[in-house]
Amino acid sequence: MAKITLSKLKHSYYPAPNGPDDYALKEIDLDWSDGGAYALLGPSGCGKSTLLNIISGLLAPSEGRILFDDKDVTGLPPNQRNIAQVFQFPVIYDTMSVFDNLAFPLRNRGVAEDHVKARVLEIAEMLEVTDMLTTRAANLSPDNKQKISMGRGLVRDDVNVVMFDEPLTVIDPHLKWKLRSKLKELHQKVRATMIYVTHDQTEALTFADQVVVMQEGEIVQIGTPVELFERPAHTFVGHFIGSPGMNVLPAEIRDGGAYFEGHPIAVEGAVKGGDGVAQIGVRPEFVKLGSYGMPATVRKVAEVGRHSVVDAVVGDTLIKAVTGSDVPGQGEQIHLSFAQEHTRVYRNGWLATERAGT
């Protein structure tokens, strides 16, 4: 187990990159503490898998260094880094039994057979696959296959970090949930550093203590799931996390105050950067429907389980609101207001208001 440091890491798939657009990773500086559960979250093509392959050593970065416990491992091949990786599609050795599959990484490293047996049984117990140990791995169901690939990562007791590259993609929805909680449970038991790559916000938010949100090769925000939800540092995070995502409304800053469609909007704190064009970000959860505030017209109402999503129009701008009770009807005239402590100003996508109280 180890602390992982990424220092000025850049990567381009072109041999001679010119300009930042040629970089899949633009410049990453990151510290991951020992034993943490992290998620790398971002849309397809944002560079998260590239980053993962650089950490595991399958890919050499164009620039920058990777340190495990302050030891430079940038030049080391995967088998010398003591890492484990679980791939999108379960990788199992078809002709071997489940036991031999789990024992494979240990036997390759010349571990004594009695220790191999003890470790395999322990991991099998954790994964609840003890009764399958003698089965040929080819005959397992996809979720069990994926469990075995996870097991092969966890079986080595000297493993620095276990990485998961969208491991639940091929798993049936009802088993996804089970495997996800299993993973969380495993993390608490083995206390290894784990990095979980996904484009699914639910997976990231339920698994990780810290979520790293990436977009176009850059880290946009690092924070706990609550922080990402409550105070997105970038409109992208606001959009990407939450269902539906944050409302991003065109706004104007005049004399330090924010205006949307001519209405003055109270925001969480002082606006940085002077007057000009900006955006207001407010989550649908914090848009209140009532008898005061901006007049709006309801365009559509969608019931989503226990709450409803109301699409309302102010001027030409669509605002989504989530409400639990008093659902208005389509075409109805209503009034909207925003909860001040959850309303923020963004400039060029980045957060531009002081935190409330400062």
């Binding site: 392959n53 995967p78 088998n79 999108q88 990788v91 071997m96």
Partner: protein, 287 residues
């Protein structure tokens, strides 16, 4: 209630007719010949199972069968490992892929009798490139029309040259279908190159290899044209494989009855070995 009609038979009919005229009816004429004796003039005498008994006890048949199994065994033992090795060393991507594939496919495009004729000329001691170089440059006495060992080596090398590509192309198809993640996982698991071959590549190639071996077995076991054109079964009877012997009996000696009996036994052996091999290879999958 399920409506039943007999329409399905109508759709099966063309295939039934095709199989009947293509396989069943010719086969039945062979069965018919195999229990009779003829001296020409379309006069037949019923002989029962006499030809089968005689054939199964004949030294000539045993010798030809032995040569046939030896030939098939040797070419399989060379072509399968060689084909896998070539497939493993071929590039997976880049501009050399089509070059390799076309080069590999070329020998298979040449008609069988042309292959035989090519190798015949190639090995002639006085004018063939190989024959001349062997005899006059290297000083190794090599004449496949005189020496049985030279004849055997020549037909084996010819078959390897002609058909290893089939194993290569099928193995290659199996290899390129392995996702990168398998190799990456093996790297992380610290697997050796041999382990990667034994536990990833070989299992993933198993299905195509089974087909490759089956095809090579059937083709080499029934081989006729190439060795006939090359050696004509000689010198002596040293390269008289089953099919060559069969043609000698049927058309050379015009012993239609024994030849028919031999065809049936020949067919039964090919079928049996293929079935046994296929059943053994697919046994694990059913579990």
């Amino acid at each position: 209630m399920k409506t039943q009609n007999q329409k399905a038979w109508f759709f099966v009919l063309p295939v039934l007719l095709l199989v009947a005229f293509n396989a069943l009816i010719p086969m039945m004429t062979v069965v018919n010949y195999s229990v009779q004796e003829t001296f020409g003039n379309n006069v037949f005498f019923f002989e029962g199972l006499r030809w089968f008994e005689e054939l199964l006890n004949s030294d000539r048949f045993h010798a030809a069968l032995g040569r046939q199994f030896l030939f098939t065994g040797i070419i399989l033992a060379i072509e399968v490992p060689l084909g896998i090795i070539i497939a493993l060393s071929m590039p997976r991507q880049g501009i050399w892929v089509p070059v390799c594939l076309v080069t590999m496919a070329l020998p298979m495009l040449i008609p069988w009798n042309v292959v035989g004729a090519m190798w015949n000329i190639f090995t002639l001691p006085e004018i063939g490139l190989l024959g001349y170089v062997m005899n006059h440059t290297l000083g190794i006495a090599y004449d496949m029309t005189q020496n049985p060992l030279a004849a055997w080596i020549t037909i084996i090398v010819m078959d390897v040259w002609h058909w290893t590509s089939l194993v290569v192309l099928l193995s290659y198809a199996g290899l390129v279908s392995i996702p990168d993640a398998y190799y990456q996982a093996a790297k992380i698991d610290g697997a050796s190159a041999w382990s990667v071959f034994r536990y990833i590549q070989l299992p993933k190639m198993k299905t195509v290899l089974t087909i490759a071996i089956l095809l090579r077995f059937m083709d080499s076991f029934n081989i006729y044209t190439e060795p006939f054109v090359l050696t004509g079964g000689g010198p002596g009877n040293s390269t008289t494989l089953l099919s060559i012997d069969l043609v000698k009996i049927a058309l050379g000696q015009f012993d239609l009855g024994p030849a028919a009996a031999m065809s049936l036994i020949y067919f039964a052996i090919t079928l049996l070995v293929s079935w046994l091999f296929y059943t053994l290879m697919t046994k694990d999958d059913a579990k």
